[in-house]
Amino acid sequence: MIDKRVGDPAQAVADVKDGDTVLIGGFGEAGSPIELIHALIDQGARDLVVASNNTGNGQVGLAALIAAGRVRKMICSYPRSSNSRVFPELYRKGQIELELVPQGTLAERIRAGGAGVPAFFTPSSVGTVLAEGKEVREFEGRPYVMERWLRADFALVKAELGDRLGNLTYNKTARNFGPIMCMAARTAIVQVSRIVEPGGIDPEVVVTPGVFVKRIVEVANAAHESVLVAQGVTYP
């Protein structure tokens, strides 16, 4: 029997290795898999390359992973926000690398990674510093820049419902990068609010088919980043 359920976040992230590339879901706090990220902090893998839209807030979740010195390089579109101090500090000190990617290009690179498309052309960033050094080519009279897929060893994603086969639904704007990150990682690890029986999700409304998911862990009452930040929580 196929059973992708694992007992807890620690078990789910146990085999992340030093140097791995990890996609981390979320746009701001919506969809941020905080419990999985905290488990990854406990787990200890270093020298990670992390792709995520932002760089976290306060001293929890992704910001805490960065603060713990575990991330060698961030790939993201928007590495600052009102409550993000960790990344800017390390970046200014030259202690963390940044690959800045337009948000749509980041999404499409991840989707391409999951879809077996090694490169594609986009009009985004043409003529800007973010296109420097990249191949530019005209199609029908308009210039486009070639971008490469983004694939990863792991993805950490937060979803809503899941079953033992890995089928998922999401909650509102927590969907964001989750479905494409599951596609692009060799091992997609998903925390869900609730695990249901196979068939408990209508086949018409499955957002991520289980084929894209390797492990699923129930986190019934996931923390909200903004609440932790407001409480001044620091992890670990």
């Binding site: 990344f87 200014r92 749509g104 927590a174 969907r175 964001n176």
Partner: protein
Amino acid sequence: MTAELIHAGLTRDEMARRAARDIPDGAYVNLGIGIPELVAAHIPPGREVIYHTENGVMGFGPPPPEGEEDPELINAGKKPITLLPGASFFHHADSFAMIRGGHIDFCILGAMQVARNGDLANWSTGAPGAIPAVGGAMDLVAGAGRIVVITEHCAKDGSPKLVDACTYPLTGRGVVARVFTDLAVVDVTSEGFVLREIAPGVDLDTVRRLTGAPLLAAAGIKTIEP
């Protein structure tokens, strides 16, 4: 003196109201963070406009009443939103397929600089130590049907934001169609900046003086109805 003149211009809400008049009925619209967000409150009666946010919603509504915020129902500015009937959720690749694929009709952004050829700079000063953060701006200017800018006519230090050529890193080349400022409505044309409308109590010479590039005067400049 500069400060005084700017004071004579439109408020942020008046700028938003003027920009809102340009949005046609039935348009799919993406509003940038800042003054552009104010536009939604000023759509003329009788028009139905559908708002897109990059993080995966089409058809969102005004912010929720205090206490009813949902941390997993937010817009691209990470602020709480509500849904209107007929809204939908989708993932990030689909959201940017809408943008890149030309399905968003109208996009209103803020700006640090707009050049007379339509170049836009709105994401980075390029200063050492600044944390560069681009978000979805480069995708929006590459893909949305019509790109307009709302911005104060001058920066806080009094320097013009409408310039001959951008000195900040570009968001996109030749992308801006129109600029709404506190002083004027300025089109970007093949001839450069053309003044179409002017704020009440502001004269052409003043606008020209505060513009960092030649400013042609359209035939029949109108006064902006605030």
